[in-house]
Symmetry: C2
Subunit: 321 residues, 2 copies
C-alpha cells in the first residue's frame, strides 16, 4: 500500500509498504481523510529519532475487516480512533487507562504505524463510530479537539475565569474554542496579526502577545509549540492562577521558577483527551472546525502536504488517500 514513512528523521513516500497484518481484537481501517498536526511536523524534523514507521494519528476511516468474528459488525462503519494502546495489565492501565502506560504504543508516534497510508489497524476498543451526517472534514478533527477538551478533564474551567490562549495555531485555536463553549471569556494571543483573523471570525478576543502587558489572567494555555511560549504565558497568569501546557515540543526551556513559587502558579501538562465528548460537540454543531482547513493533498503528494503544513500561520492540512 501507499504510506508516508519516517525513519532516521527522513520522511519518504512509499508505494510498497506492507498492509497492516491484524492482531487479535484489531480492525483494518481504510483511511478516508487524515490531518497533519504539530507533533507530526516535529517528528518529521527528527525530534523522535527512535520512531520508524508510518506517521500520522488524526484520521477518519472505514472499517474494512476485523480480526475477530465477534467484531464483524464493525465492518463498514465509519470511525475515528483513540491513539494510545496500553498493555492493559499494568497498574497504570488499570487505574489511569492506556494514555500513560509505560509499555504503550501510540498510533504513528511510538512503536506503531500510523494513518498517512491507505490503511491502518487499531483494536476495536479504540474505535468510535462517527455520527451519520458528520462530514469527514469535521470528523478528522476529533483527535485534536479531544486533546483540547482534555483540559476540562484536568481542571474546572470556570465560566468567570479570565482566560488567555497563547498560540492561535491548529491546536491553540481549538483549545480557545473549547474553553469558550461554556461562556468563559477567552483571548487568543499570537505573534502575527494574520494569525488572529480566524480567532476573531470565531468571535474570540484577540491580541498580539509581544505588546500584551496584562498579567491578570486566571487561566492561561500555552499552545505555541516554541520555547518562548512558556515565559510569555507565565507572565500573563495572575498569582494563584493556572497555566496549562498544551505544546508538545522536544527540548528544555529556561523557566523563571521564582514567579512560579512566589505567585503560587499551578502548571499542568496536558496531552490526549476524550473522544466521545469531542464527537458530541462536533455532532451538535457547536463548533465547526472546517475553517481551519488550509489545504488538502492526495496521499501521493504527502511530502508537499508536509511542506505546506510547516509554513508559518498554516493551520490544518489534510491528506486524502
Amino acid at each position: 500500500m501507499r504510506a508516508l514513512y519516517l525513519a532516521d528523521g527522513q520522511l519518504t513516500y512509499r508505494t510498497d509498504y506492507e498492509k497492516p497484518v491484524l492482531q487479535a481484537g484489531e480492525a483494518l481501517i481504510r483511511i478516508q481523510l487524515a490531518g497533519i498536526c504539530s507533533t507530526d511536523l516535529e517528528m518529521a524534523k527528527g525530534y523522535v529519532p527512535e520512531f520508524r514507521g508510518v506517521l500520522g494519528h488524526e484520521f477518519v476511516g472505514i472499517v474494512v475487516a476485523a480480526a475477530d468474528s465477534a467484531d464483524a459488525d464493525w465492518v463498514g462503519r465509519r470511525v475515528v480512533g483513540t491513539i494510545n494502546l496500553g498493555c492493559g495489565r499494568c497498574a497504570v492501565c488499570l487505574s489511569d487507562g492506556p494514555e500513560h502506560c509505560p509499555h504503550r504504543t501510540v498510533l504513528g508516534i511510538h512503536d506503531r504505524d500510523g494513518v498517512f497510508a491507505d490503511y491502518t489497524a487499531l483494536p476495536v476498543g479504540n474505535l468510535l463510530p462517527v455520527p451519520d451526517g458528520m462530514p469527514d472534514e469535521t470528523a478528522v478533527f476529533t483527535e485534536p479537539f479531544a486533546a483540547a477538551l482534555r483540559i476540562r478533564e484536568q481542571v474546572a474551567v470556570r465560566p468567570t475565569a479570565k482566560t488567555a490562549v497563547v498560540g492561535p495555531g491548529r491546536l491553540g485555536l481549538l483549545v480557545g474554542l473549547s474553553l469558550s463553549l461554556s461562556g468563559t471569556d477567552v483571548t487568543m494571543l499570537g505573534r502575527r496579526a494574520s494569525s488572529l483573523e480566524l480567532p476573531a471570525q470565531y468571535g474570540l478576543k484577540t491580541g498580539l502577545v509581544d505588546d500584551f502587558a496584562d498579567d491578570s489572567f486566571d487561566f492561561v494555555v500555552e499552545a505555541t509549540g516554541n520555547e518562548a511560549g512558556f515565559a510569555q504565558s507565565l507572565q500573563l497568569v495572575r498569582p494563584l492562577g493556572t497555566l496549562i501546557l498544551k505544546s508538545t515540543f522536544a527540548g528544555n526551556a529556561n523557566i523563571n521558577l521564582t514567579k512560579l513559587v512566589v505567585a503560587e502558579i499551578n502548571v499542568i501538562g496536558s496531552r490526549c483527551g476524550p473522544f466521545a465528548p469531542a464527537l458530541r460537540v462536533l455532532a451538535a454543531g457547536r463548533l465547526d472546525p472546517r475553517p481551519f482547513i488550509d489545504g488538502e493533498y492526495p496521499l501521493d503528494d504527502a511530502l508537499a502536504a508536509f511542506e505546506h503544513a510547516a509554513r508559518p500561520g498554516v493551520r490544518k492540512i489534510l491528506i486524502r488517500p
Copy 2:
C-alpha cells in the same frame, strides 16, 4: 535598638537602629527568639538587592505596646505573626487575602523591617497568641511549619500517595513531617547521608537522591533550594503525578517541558501557609521541631549566626535578642 540590617546586599549589625514607630492598628513586639531561614540567606547573598532594612521573619515575641487603645488587651501576650501585609482594598486582597496583594509588604523581605532586632511591629490582625506551655523554641517554628502546611491547602494529600521530598533541610524536613501527619508514606531524599540522619530519627524513609531511580512517586516536593532540584524532582514523579515547588530561590532553571506535558504532570508553586493549624499541630505535640535546632546566638552575634546557618547540612539557627 539593636538590629541586623541589610542594604545593598551587605549585612551589618547595628546598635543605633530606630525602634519601630507604630502605625494605626499595629503592635510593638519585643522579640524573644527568631529563626534564620533559606530566604534570609538568599537575601544576605544579595539576591533581593532592592531590600533595605532589618532582615528576618520567623519569630516569637511579647507584645509590649499597641497603637490603638482598643488593642490594649494584646499587651503582655506572647505571639507569633503572619508576615504578609496587603493593602486590604484591592481585588486580590478581597478575594485571596494579603499573600498575593501586588501592593503588599512582607516582614523582613519586602519593604518592611523584620525581626532580627530587639523589636518589630505588626498589625494586631497578623498576630496569633502562642498557647501557654509551648516553648519559645517550638513556637519559633510556626512560620516555616505553616509554609509546610500550605501544601495541604493547595492539594489533597492522600494518605495512600507515595510521596517524596527532595531536600531534607530546614524546610524540606518540616514538609515531610507535615505530609506524614495523616499517614502518607514519605521518603526524604538528600545528597548526603548525614542530612538523612534526622529524617530517619523522625521515622521517615530516606534515600540518596543521586542514585534513586524510582520514578513512580505520586507526589513529590522540591525543597532543595538549588536549580538541580527541579530536574531531580521531575524525574521522580509518575505520569499524572504532582510536583510541589517549595524552594524559593532566585533565578531560572532549565526545565524538561517534554516530560511535563507528555506525562501530564501538575506543578504547583507553594509559599506562605496558615498559622492557626500550625500552632494546633505544635501545641498538640504531634511534631516536636526542636531537634532541628543546630545553634542559638545572641543578637550581638547575628553575623556569626548567619555564617553558621549557611554551612551545608545545618538546619535551624536561632537568634535570641
